[in-house]
Each structure stands twice: as C-alpha cells, then as structure tokens.
C-alpha cells in the first residue's frame, strides 16, 4: 500500500510513518521542514496550505494519513484556520483527485471538549462556535469537514488520540520534567481527577489499525474515535510517574482548579505580548488537568479491532529507560 503521511515532523506522525515503512508499506512524508526519516520513506517538503503541493504528493497513493496541524495557543485565527481547516480541505481534494479511497484524519478529543468532566465518554460530535480557543475550534471544523467528505468512493475516519506521551515527547513529558527539575511543578486542584493518556506506541498502532480498517463501506467510515490507553489514573499519579521515570523530584504546589482555569485564560491572552514561546499554563491545560477525562474504549476495539499493547506501567518503564540512556 502506498501511503501519504502529512505532518511527519511530529512524534506521533513520524512514528506512524516509520511503523508503516517497517511493515513494508510505501510511505511518502509531506511536511514543511526536512526531518529524519527511516529507510524507505520518501520525503517531500511542502505545506498543506498549498493545494498543488498536496496534490502532487498524493499522486499514486492508496491512502492518506493526515496529521499536519498547527497546535498550541499562539497565533491568529487565520494562522490556525489556514493550516487546520484549509489544509484539511486541500488534503481531501487531493485525495479525490488522486483516486485515494481511504483517509485517516488525525483529530483531537478537544473538538468535543466542553470544559466539564468526561467519565467513560464516547466520541461525541465535534462542537463549533467557541470563542478564543483557536486550536480546538479549527480542529473541530476540520474534523467536520473530513467526516463530511466520507463517501462510497472515499472512506474517512477521524482518530482523536488523548494526551500522547512517551520517550522523546517534548510536549507533555518535556514540560513536566523541565518544571519539576526547576522546582516549579504545579498541581491543578488536588490532582485527583482521573485522566486517561496514550502511550506513544499505542497511539501509533491505533493509527495504523485505523488505516487498515477504513475502507468504503467499513463500520468506522464517517465516524470519529477516541484513542487512549484505557487506563485512567489520577493526574497526581501520572505526573508523579513521569517525574520518577525522569529522575526528577515530585514536589508540586497545589493550585485550586477554578483559579488555575482563570489564570490559564489570562496567561494565554497576555503571554504573547510579553514573552516568546508557548505559555506555561493555558485555560485548556488547566481544564484538562482539573477535571476527569476518560473514555469508552469499546468503539476502537469493536469497530477498528484495536487494543493498546503497552500498559501504562510498561510505558513508564520504557520512559525511564529512555531517560537513563540519554543521561548515559
């Protein structure tokens, strides 16, 4: 199978490209900056905002795994819209032009996120109309667009991985470790909210499984699925586990959840005016860490035939080994 992977620069999509190549698929990676690719993967530099670049990369492909996205809280609405919404639109158009019959759209649970706790939740429909939350809003529009493109000729499935982490992760793991090492670790509330996460290897295998499962007429075509380990833990235990794996002290200060959400909202508005880079806390992160977030694993199991193969504790051990290697 020949597969186009967009956004191969990220930990997740890079991993998916490598996994596909390793099992013998012909893989083309499309991203803006050159990346290190495993043997056998063809690399194309280009921007999903340019329809021609996407169309030429998709030529001759059987399937597309669309993961290119703008993330974070920095940037204007146009920045987010052009990459996440228009980019998705370009990928879908390229798929149709190239006669591709299967598309996996990489989405996020935050497209249906409303700020309150999710307990054993399913993949509810994406919600639009948010004010201010550019990332979630643009990803919601993108997912609606992608699923609407599902047709008898083109099968589309949306996968929403929840809090992906693992060795080499600069987002979740990187930030926690950095802050804990600096003695600036903050716990939202008392850290007792149960949160599910996804170990990187599981996230990769879930996307591969979705790619294999999606085809015109398949049960999963036209639907969205949340991917997670299916092992929710309290935020405190998760953060503590990451700190232990990294060998940094775990001594958080507790910040009331309500306050954290308000501060997060304030910080994400003011931060860009004074500092560069992503702010230390955002409203979204505060909500994510202050309320329960765990999901119904059955749809992925029943419709896609996927189950996680690395447990949380195995993931922590793999993370510990990776930190130990890089320290050595």
């Amino acid at each position: 199978m020949k597969v186009l992977v967009t956004g191969g620069g990220s930990m997740l999509l890079g991993g998916v490209a490598a996994a596909l190549a390793a099992r013998g698929d012909e893989v083309v990676c499309l991203q803006r900056r050159p990346i290190h690719v495993p043997d056998g993967v063809r690399q194309v530099q280009g921007d999903v905002r340019q329809p021609d670049a996407v169309r030429s990369a998709a030529e001759g492909c059987d399937a597309i795994l669309h993961g290119a996205a703008r993330v974070g809280v920095l940037g204007t609405w146009d920045d987010f819209r052009s990459v996440n919404v228009d980019g998705t639109s370009n990928v879908l158009a390229a798929a149709r032009a190239a006669g591709v019959s299967r598309v996996v759209h990489v989405s996020t649970p935050s497209v249906a996120h409303s700020g309150h706790s999710l307990v054993g939740a399913g993949a509810d429909a994406a919600v639009t109309g948010r004010k201010g939350a550019f990332y979630a809003e643009s990803k919601a529009l993108a997912e609606l667009l992608a699923l609407a493109a599902n047709s008898p000729e083109l099968a589309v499935v949306a996968i929403r991985p929840h809090l992906v982490w693992g060795p080499g992760d600069t987002q979740l793991v990187g930030r926690i470790v950095e802050r804990a090492a600096a003695g600036r670790l903050v716990m939202v509330g008392d850290g007792s909210a149960l949160v599910d996460t996804t170990y990187i290897d599981n996230a990769v295998s879930a996307h591969v499984a979705a790619l294999d499962a999606v085809r015109p007429g398949a049960v999963c075509a036209g639907s969205a699925y949340v991917v997670a380990n299916g092992e929710p833990r309290t935020v405190r235990e998760l953060v503590e586990g990451i700190c232990r794996a990294a060998g940094v002290p775990f001594a958080p200060r507790e910040v009331p959840a309500g306050l954290a959400v308000r501060v997060g909202g304030l910080v994400e508005r003011l931060w860009p005016r004074f500092r560069d880079g992503e702010p230390p806390i955002t409203r979204f992160v505060a909500e994510q860490l202050g309320t329960a977030h765990w999901f119904d694993p059955r749809p992925m199991r029943d419709d896609i035939g996927w189950r996680p193969h690395v447990t949380l504790d195995e993931g922590f051990e793999l993370l510990r080994q990776s930190f130990a290697r890089s320290a050595a």
């Binding site: 007792s192 833990r233 235990e237 309320t291 059955r298």
Partner: protein, 829 residues
C-alpha cells in the same frame, strides 16, 4: 391542544400528542387529547397495548415517565379525561359517564383486543368500572393509589372531605388553583419544577378548572349520592374479575393510604401488592413504574409460579416446649436480666401468654409486632403467637430506629406487643397507629390450663408464621414471609447440620437466633450485650452466658466475635468448653476464626452461608476453609444437604440460565426451608423467585461460582458487579487480594463510570490511621500488584468504609462507588 414547544418543554415527545374526535355514548362527539406512543416491533416481546387513566387534578402528563421508560414493544395510550387536561370542556361529568367514555375512546381509536389498564386516583375507579363492564377487553390492571370504596372502619380521606365541603369546594378546586397546585406537594418523593409546572399547565384559569371541581363533587360522601351506587355496583363485581391485578402503592399518600391498598387487595381474585415506602400519591410520576408494568405483563404471560411449600411440619415449633412442661431442667437463661426459667416455668409462660393474647383478640393469621427486647419474654411471646396461629413480626433494633419503624409500618400489623414505652412509641411514631397495643405486663396472669380449654387448632404447615427483615444494607429492609412448615424445615436442617442433640445447650448473641433454641428442644442462653450494636459483646459477657447454662454451642455475629477477640484478656473457661461456634450474617475473615480457635480449642468453628430469605445454604468450618486454601472470592463451603444450588447467568433477564461449573454468576437456591417470599413487594418477589424446571428458586443476589470439588465461592453482590469494557468483574476476589497486602485492614472494590465502561477503584482502610485521600505510591503499587491482572484506576484510603448497622460488615459498594466517582471527577473542588 398544547403546543409542540410546550410539550417538548415538559419533556414529552410532541409526536405522541393528538386530538381525537370521539362519538360518545351520550350522543355528542367530543374532542379528546391523547398521548399515543406507538409500539416498535421487538423480538421476544409480545406486543401489548397499555391504556393509562389519570385522576384528579392531573392529565396525561402524569404518565410521562411511563411513556418514556416502558419497553418500546408496547403501545401506550394516555388520554386526558373529558373536561380535564387539553380535552373538550363538557362541564361536570359523572363517574358512570367517565366509565362509558373509556369504551367510546378505545372504539374511536380502533383499539382491538384486550388492553392493560394502568390507572391512578379517580382513573383507577374508572378503570375498574371499565374492566367490570367489558371484562373481555381487559388483559390486566395495574392500579396505583386509588380506591373503589372507603375501607371499613375508616372515614373518607380528610383532604378530600375538606376539598368537597360546602363553602370550600369551589374556592379550592375552581376559583383558586389551590387543589391543582397543592397536589404535587403532597408527601412523597419530590417532583421537579418542570413536572409541577406541566401538571398545572392545562388548568390556568377558573374556567378550565371546571372538571377539577366536578371530579371532587363526584366523590360520594352520602349513601344517596348517585355515584355511590355506581361505585358499589363496580365494587361488588370486582371479585369475579379473572384478570391479574397488580397494585403499586406510594405508602406516604395521605389520600389513598395503605388502608385503601389493603381494601383493594381483598377485592380481587388474582391480586398482588407492592408498596413503595417513600413514594406518595403521585407515585407513578415520583418513581419509575415501567418495570412494574412490564413485570405485570410478563408475569401474566408466564403464568403463576408454584408456591414454595412444605408438605408436613412433622414436629411443631412448640412441641418440645410442651414436651418439657414437667421438666425442672433449665430452659432459657438471660444473663443480662439475671433470670432463668426451667422447662415447666417456660411452658407455663408460653401457654399463659397464648391464652392472654387470645383473650385480647389475637386470632389465627393476625400479624403481631413483637417489640419486646431480647429476653425470656421475647422468646415466650413469639412461641405464644405461633401456638395460636398469629404471625410474628420481629424487627430488631439492628435496623436502626428509622428502619425498624419502616419495617413495622410496612408489615401492617394488627397488634403490637412490647413494654409500655415501645407500644407507646409505635403509636406516636405512627408505626402502627391503628394496631391494638398490648403490654407484656398485661399478658401475665393467665394460666396454662386456660389455653387447653380454648382448644385452639394448631396451625398447619402452610399457615404463615413470621415476617422477618433483611438487614437493609443496600436499601430499605424488606419483609420476608415464613410459614410454619418452612421454619420447621429450617430447624430440622440446622439440627441435622450441626448434630444437635437434647444434651446441647446453646448461647445466642443474636436475638433472632435465640428464638430457635426452644424449637430445637435445647437450653438457650442470652448474653449480656447491647443488641443494637453486636460489636458490644465482650469476651467476659460471652463467657458468663456460657457458664450459666454450661453451653456446648455458641452463635454470634462476625462483628460480635471480633469484639470478643478484642476484649479477651483473662481466661475464659466456659467458652473454652463449647463444642461448636457458629457465625453468620456476613463474611467472617479466616484470621478471626484462627484467633477464635485459641479461645475455643475444642470447638468446631462453623460459618454457615445464607441470608434472611434462606438459611442455611452452605456451611464450612475453619479446618475445611484452611484446607481449601485461596481462590476466586470467599469459600463458603459445600451446599447443605437438601439445599440445591445453581449458578445462573446475570444477563439472561427473568429466565434462569444455568452456567457451567467454574463460571461466575448469580447464586440461586432451592430448598424446603426457603421463605415464602417478600411481603407487600410483588415486583421484588417476581424478580427474585423464578420458576425453573417446575420448581421455584430464590435468587440470592450474590455472585459466585461452584468449583469442581463442589465448593461454593462468593464473589460479591449482583448489584456490586463492576461492568468494565472487558466484561463484569466481581469485587470480592479483588478485595481478598488487596487485604493480603501488608498494612491493608479492609478493602472495597467499586466501579466508577457508566455501566460497560466502568473502571475499578479500590478503597482501603489501613492499619495506620490515615485521612481520606489517594494511597501512598508504594501502597498503591502493592495493591495494584495484588489485583493484577485487573487494572485499577485508583487506590484510595479512607478512615471508615460505609457498612450496615446490623452486621457492621456489609459494605454499601454502590454508595461508595458514587462517592468515588465524584471524588475522582475533579469537579467537586
């Protein structure tokens, strides 16, 4: 007609609502508003049509919960009575016309074939009228808080008399919305604001309330009232109805109270009553009655269940007492009161009490609440009642005062026997306001020969003997009915199981068990303890009770035994001599038994397994438990000879589907000594007593499995199953594993989240005194390792797990699960 927006705001599906032109028996055509929910075809469920009739001052909205919740295979038709709701205003309408209206409406709707009528308040009287007039068109009745006549010895409900009285009637029912607005505030479970607003919606102006006033005016208070004779004619015809009638009753209704339920219960051939203790007049809206209606329809389809009965009592319950009437050897000893009676004295007291009770009007079949504190008198009153065929209602203080009150109230007793204070309390607390109070003191003074002169026929095997109560660990205590035959079979089973001979002497540290002593024909001793708190039994008190009768056997609850161990400091010579110790009611930790073995070196330590509804089911001893070793859950031993045990699937619905050996499922039993069933809870009874291969079985509500050696293992309660994405998980094996971890005293495994997606949380009491919160990382890791391969989302420590009062051992895992779900949602703070 209500607007679609209004209906949607009331939570009704606007597509159910329509107006129907109905040519009436009165020659006029009236427009009716009807909520009509069509049936959806479903496999395995026979189609049925359910017609719901509301009363005053409501409308078809009354059935909104039933419309939503009833199985989709059934069509539901809920009309607004004429002059009510959104139907035509036709002025005051008499009962006879309203009965005929039902027939008119069903004809206009083209409903063919028998229908189930579900009705409340005036709707019930109308439904009964229709059933009597057209019996072939009625498949059955489900009636809720209604009536056909004022029960004997009672006045009409004072609220209705007030509303109907001259000068007040129009003011409260028509000129002001008092009657309409007040009804939802009658005692019961509270209604929501939306429900209250919806109920009042069609009655905004005085003109629209004509029907409300008319209904009240139609309540017959005098014999000359035209409706009185119509109601009397219907009432007279009810006994000839052959269809099943099921009563679902909110017991807090001040209008149609439990007396009306009893009155109706006495009027039908095939009738059963289910009381909902905390619901009121609008029970059908306060609670979910769909399961009741479904069960009524399903029960009628499957036919009656064979009654559990014992052919012959053999030896009567009191025959050993009479046989010992000349004996000077010890019969009953009470260490707390420092009192003891010999066989002759005890027989004399029982006979004297029996004669006195008879003289006070207690007759065969009458229910008697025995509120006598544990002691010789309690045992004597129970046997005196049994001797004359009265039914004892024994509720112990272990239910808590509120639970005791609810239990006595639900049993509808005719007499209350107890010390002065208790009978006064029963009246002032309205446990049994209309019962005749009899003080224990007043029973003395009659002599035994009087009883013989009375020549009272002894009760037979099928005669009811007692109502006893479940511990109420997971909801209100349920009354359980036993016949004489069943109690005799239970006595014989215990005698055989424990090799009890006339030479045995028995100390009971749990009052209901002490009652069995005289029936077994053995000397019985009561220990000095606070019966409301079994954990108050001290080692010294138990030893003293044993000393007084030179005991060979001891019965104590697990909580009592735990305290005996905690308080055992000096030598306990009398306890050391017993040959048998029994403990039941809750699981007994094997460690407790090991330590007990040091105190009673000669004794076999038995832990019979069973429940209020059936005891014993299985039995094991410390020795056998130790030999069996560890396994999935707690081993309760082999089934007792004469008691059949099978393991049934928990998701086969009403049908019993036996599972292969080794599989986990619900423990279901059949034995001659199982109780007749529940009292005033037909729905519970129907669920708990399935028929299988021609016999009636009892669903214990416990889950477990039988191993290849025939041992029964208990893994928890059906309601406490944790429904994970990988399938159901039983709590007890996880708890046993967690309790093996150093530092863990007691553990409870609960599920959080929606059924099918639940995550396991283990809550532990630790040996170190810790505040509520997440377990320390090392402890959490150890508990998780013990529970493996089952993933555990969180390990939480708590000071005290929620347990029942009676046994201080049964954990309310459902409540704990809800609490943990809130605690781990992050949104509570």
């Amino acid at each position: 007609m209500p607007s679609a927006a209004d209906l949607a705001a009331f939570g009704l599906d606007p597509s159910w609502s329509r107006m129907v032109q109905v040519p009436g028996h009165d020659g006029a055509t009236h427009r009716w508003h009807v909520l009509d929910r069509p049936a959806e075809g479903a496999e395995g469920v026979a189609a049925a049509t359910v017609v719901c009739l509301h009363g005053n001052p409501t409308w078809s909205f009354l059935w909104s919960r039933l419309l939503h919740e009833l199985h989709p295979a059934y069509r539901v038709i809920a009309p607004d009575q004429l002059s009510m709701g959104w139907s035509d205003r036709v002025g005051a309408r008499r009962y006879v016309d309203r009965v005929a209206d039902v027939h008119d409406l069903l004809a206009a709707l083209g409903v063919a074939g028998p229908v189930w009528l579900v009705a409340q308040d005036w709707g019930g009287a109308i439904a009964m009228g229709h059933a009597v007039a057209h019996p072939q068109q009625v498949a059955g009745l489900v009636l809720s808080n209604t009536g056909i006549a004022v029960p004997e010895g009672r006045h009409a409900p004072w609220l209705i008399r007030l509303a109907a009285s001259h000068g007040v009637h129009r003011l409260v029912t028509r000129s002001t919305p008092l009657f309409v607005r007040g009804t939802p505030f009658l005692p019961g479970r509270p209604l929501t604001r939306v429900q209250r607003r919806a109920l009042a919606a069609p009655y905004r102006t005085a003109g629209r309330r004509d029907g409300v006033a008319g209904f009240v005016a139609d309540v017959p208070f005098g014999d000359l009232h035209v409706t009185k004779s119509a109601l009397d004619r219907v009432a007279a015809a009810l006994p000839s109805l052959r269809v099943p009638v099921r009563l679902v009753w909110g017991s807090r209704d001040p209008v149609f109270n439990d007396d009306f339920a009893d009155d109706l219960h006495g009027r039908f051939a095939d009738v059963q009553l289910h009381r909902i203790a905390d619901a009121g007049h609008l029970c059908v809206l306060e609670t979910s009655i769909a399961p009741f209606v479904e069960a009524a329809i399903a029960g009628a389809a499957s036919g009656p269940t064979p009654a559990a009965r014992v052919a012959d009592v053999g030896e009567s319950l009191w025959s050993r007492i009479e046989a010992a009437a000349d004996s000077s050897s010890l019969a009953v000893s009470d260490a707390a009161a420092d009192e003891a009676v010999n066989g002759a004295e005890f027989a004399e007291r029982v006979a004297g009490f029996a004669a006195s009770l008879h003289a006070r009007g207690v007759r065969r079949g009458d229910r008697v609440a025995v509120l006598v504190p544990p002691g010789i008198d309690l045992i004597a009153v129970v046997y005196a009642c049994w001797r004359i065929g009265a039914v004892t209602v024994v509720a112990d203080r272990g239910l808590g005062l509120g639970g005791l009150g609810r239990a006595v109230r639900s049993a509808r007793v005719k007499f209350v026997v107890g010390p002065k204070r208790a009978v006064a309390a029963a009246r002032t607390l309205r446990w049994a306001p209309k019962a005749t109070a009899i003080t224990v003191g007043s029973l003395r003074g009659n002599d035994a020969p009087r009883l013989r002169e009375l020549a009272i026929d002894a009760p037979t095997a099928d005669d009811p003997a007692a109502v006893v109560f479940t511990s109420g660990a997971t909801g209100p205590a349920k009354g359980v009915r036993y016949t004489h035959g069943q109690l005799c079979a239970q006595r014989d089973a215990l005698r055989a199981l424990y090799g009890i001979t006339d030479g045995d002497r028995f100390v009971a540290a749990f009052a209901p068990f002490a009652v069995f002593g005289p029936a077994l024909g053995i000397a019985t001793g009561l220990a000095d303890m606070d019966v409301t708190a079994p954990a108050t039994l001290t080692a010294a008190a138990l030893d003293e009770a044993c000393r007084r009768i030179d005991a060979t056997m001891v019965f104590a609850s697990p909580a009592a035994l735990a305290n005996v161990l905690a308080t055992a400091s000096g030598p306990l010579p009398s306890l050391a001599k017993v040959r048998l110790v029994m403990s039941a009611g809750a699981p007994v930790p094997i460690e407790t038994l090991r330590r007990l073995a040091d105190l009673c070196p000669l004794a076999e330590l038995c832990t019979p397994y069973g429940m209020t509804e059936v005891l014993p089911v299985a039995d094991t001893t410390l020795t056998r438990r130790a030999a069996v070793g560890a396994g999935r859950g707690v081993c309760v031993g082999e089934p007792v000879p004469g008691c059949d045990v099978l393991i049934a699937s928990t998701d086969a619905g009403a049908r019993l589907q036996e599972l292969p050996v080794g599989d986990t499922g619900e423990v279901v039993v059949h034995t001659p000594w199982m109780s007749s069933g529940y009292d005033g809870l037909w729905h519970t009874q129907q669920l708990a007593r399935p028929t299988h291969e021609g016999r009636t079985w009892h669903r214990t509500g416990d889950v477990g499995h039988l191993d290849t050696a025939g041992h029964l293992w208990i893994e928890g309660r059906v309601v406490h199953l944790i429904h994970t994405p990988m399938g159901p998980v039983t709590p007890v094996p996880l708890e046993v594993a967690a309790e093996a971890v150093a530092g863990v005293q007691r553990a409870a495994a609960v599920g959080i989240g929606p059924r099918g997606v639940q995550q396991v949380v283990i809550v532990i009491e630790t040996t170190a005194d810790r505040a509520d919160g997440p377990a320390a990382p090392e402890l959490a890791a150890a508990v998780r390792a013990a529970a493996a391969p089952q993933p555990v989302a969180a390990v939480w420590t708590t000071r005290q797990l929620p347990v029942d009062i009676r046994h201080n051992a049964k954990i309310d895992r459902s409540a704990l699960g809800r609490m943990m779900e809130r605690r781990l949602s992050g949104s509570s703070r």
